[in-house]
Amino acid sequence: MRIEIINGRIIDPSNGVNEQAGLYIEDGKVVAVGNAPEGFVAQTRIDAQGQIVCPGFIDLSARLREPGQIHKASIHSETHAAASAGFTSLCIPPDTKPVIDTPAVIELIKDKAEQCAYAHIYPVAALTQKLAGKELSCMYALKQAGCIAVGHAQAPIQDLLILRRAMEYAATHDLLLMYCPQEQSLSYQGCAHEGAMASRYGLPGIPVAAETIALMQCIELIEHTGCRVHFRGLSSARSVIIVGKAKQLGLPVSADVAMHHLHLTDADMLPYNSHYHVSPPLRSQQDKEALLNGVQNGTIDAICSDHQPHDIDAKLGAFPETEPGMATLETVLPLMLRLVEQGILDLSQGIASLSASPAKILAINAGHLTIGSIADICVFNVNTDWQINGETWQSQGQNTPFWQKNMRGKVTTTIQAGKIIYSQ
């Protein structure tokens, strides 16, 4: 299959490319940027006049709910939604049912994803068996089966001894640990940021310290074990400072923030609207600003969707009893473009935070358009206005606080390994 994408503006942050040019794909790989190679005859031509052509987006955490919770979503529905939003690769956390703690579950997920043939999937394996936080998972076997990293989703780890051993063992097999910092004894039963809003609504709070204490403990153990750690989903200003210090010390750490934490605060929560129930919780304006600064100055390496589709019932109830999480894959690009419009990021930085940076964190050869690389590509129009509604939304989960809101910026074509997986 030979594809040419012409007339578009190519933005490839890794290679410092930002220019109007053609992009040529053959046998699943990028074969030229600029002019067509000699004798190249395209079978498919995409005219990207007025559009941006960039590396396909790579998400560090998207829940697809399969296996185990197909009433919420499926690999098919969510990889398709991902493709429609410009994502060519997704890391999926281990808290599926059953948990990703055996090679068989990894194979099951990979097979299913291949059949669906939309976005590529990178399973993150459980750090401990059944995510129970007590016994180590068979990390070597899981790595052989193809896990990209190990993680613990938001399940608690019994104690620091188990975490220490797990980090030592992960380091033994050179596995990246994806760690969601949250000290359970401090966040217990909490459902909102501990602050003025939670106090007003009488919602049990999750203090910032629940995140920062877990971060600092883990950082001390990184010093001790040498384990590579990626901190998932920072939510507070203090966390940005702590990660910045760890980086100054030269520790092997990276961090991401969920896109919604760069746009929403606890003050945006409509009274008891469960679509704002997320974990970690939406925090204060000051926290949001510090997170934006962290993305600007590179302390926070990447932006993540933290996609968590839910069925309707999961969000129907009194706020504290509803399940946390938003369906977010399809709002990532328009929300990134808002940051560009607000002058917080330039477009190239925004694209890098969704492609080159996550690829670097995962140590995969992706997220760039170097000649010879796998052709994972996203083409989007920055000026398309659209409304989020039942017609436009692809994810099975409609749990977004942006429902029926207007968005600007839409993907027109997504190509994964040289195959068109989405075309508007």
Partner: protein, 323 residues
């Protein structure tokens, strides 16, 4: 999905649901107090029953146990000539796995006109009001740690009867503010009605984060906090607070935050002492204070009926007239 519009008011700005004090105007709170006053006057003249809600069906939906709140709502409904059904859901449907919404749908199908709801989770009454059929009114009888608006209004009624007006009043709320829905409603009501100052007096373990943002001044010392105070509201201390390491012991709590005769002397001479009940004698309040001349604790209970009659009749009327 919820919107910013005030869920409690109908299109004419009248009270359709009574979910929280927060968000209501002073004029509406005053209307509740005035309406309650007329019911109380008539009750005192031995006319106890009014035909206002004849033919209406009210369901007390108590997902959490309660004695006096439920009883006063029942009496209020009976005195308004409504039919009332009290359901103790803590021991029925939801323990069989039925969702909150299903419970509501089933009761709606029985053609009721009003739900009085108590629930252990904040936002439950809000959720029910949002999802109930439009002809149904919802009265919040306490949701989690959020609000308990009828309790606050009966407290305001009691304060107004004793002190005549709110301007110039200094009020201290003492005890477990963190877990108290009563305190949140009282703080909003006092600020809306124009009290001079609202103080909260508690150890740091029993105060919510950034409590000042609710419009209070904070004291950790009872003697200092009671100075120049006109109204003292003592909150009940739940025994289980000791188990969750919020406090060391009941006796230490009484030493620091319990209202004894000595401590009471720190407040203004004509200060009144209130308590939403049930009281723990010797834990947050000494018997001599609870039963003493400055205590209005039993008047609060009596006033609860008139205030609940006022709220129920107002909500039901807005309902009939509203959209």
């Amino acid at each position: 999905m919820l919107t910013n519009k005030n869920l409690q008011l109908n299109s004419l700005g009248k009270l359709q649901h009574f979910l929280s004090i927060e968000g209501l105007q002073k004029s509406l709170l005053t209307e509740i107090l005035d309406t309650a006053e007329s019911f109380a006057d008539m009750s005192e003249q031995q006319v106890k029953k009014f035909p206002l809600l004849r033919g209406k069906t009210i369901v007390n939906l108590f997902f959490e146990n309660s004695t006096r709140t439920r009883a006063t709502f029942e009496l209020a409904a009976i005195r308004l000539s409504a039919d009332i059904l009290s359901m103790n859901i803590a021991t029925s449907a939801t323990s069989k796995g039925e969702s909150l919404l299903d419970t509501i749908r089933n009761l709606e199908a029985m053609q009721v006109d009003m739900f009085v709801v108590r629930h252990s989770l904040s936002g439950a009454a809000h959720f029910i009001a949002e999802h109930a059929a439009p002809h149904i009114s919802v009265i919040n009888a306490g949701d989690g740690q959020h609000e308990h608006p009828t309790q606050a209004m009966l407290d305001m009624f009691t304060i107004r009867r004793a002190k005549k007006k709110f301007s110039g009043l200094r009020v201290a709320i003492v005890g477990d503010i963190l877990h108290s829905r009563v305190a949140r409603s009282q703080i909003h009501a006092l600020n809306i009605l124009g009290a001079e100052e609202v103080r909260v007096i508690a150890p740091k373990t029993l105060l919510p984060a950034q409590v000042e943002s609710l419009g209070v001044t904070v004291y950790h010392d009872l003697t200092a906090g009671l100075k120049n105070i006109d109204v003292i509201i003592m909150l009940r201390l739940q025994k289980e607070r000791m188990n969750s390491a919020l406090l060391p012991s009941e006796s230490e709590y009484f030493k620091c935050f319990g209202l004894s005769d000595d401590k009471l002397k720190t407040a203004n001479k004509d200060a009144i002492v209130m308590h939403p009940g049930p009281i723990n004698r010797g834990v947050e309040i000494s018997s001599s204070v609870a039963d003493g001349p400055q205590s209005v604790i039993l008047q609060q209970v009596t006033n609860g009926i008139a205030v609940r009659m006022a709220v129920m009749s107002m909500a039901m009327q807005s309902n009939a007239r509203g959209d």
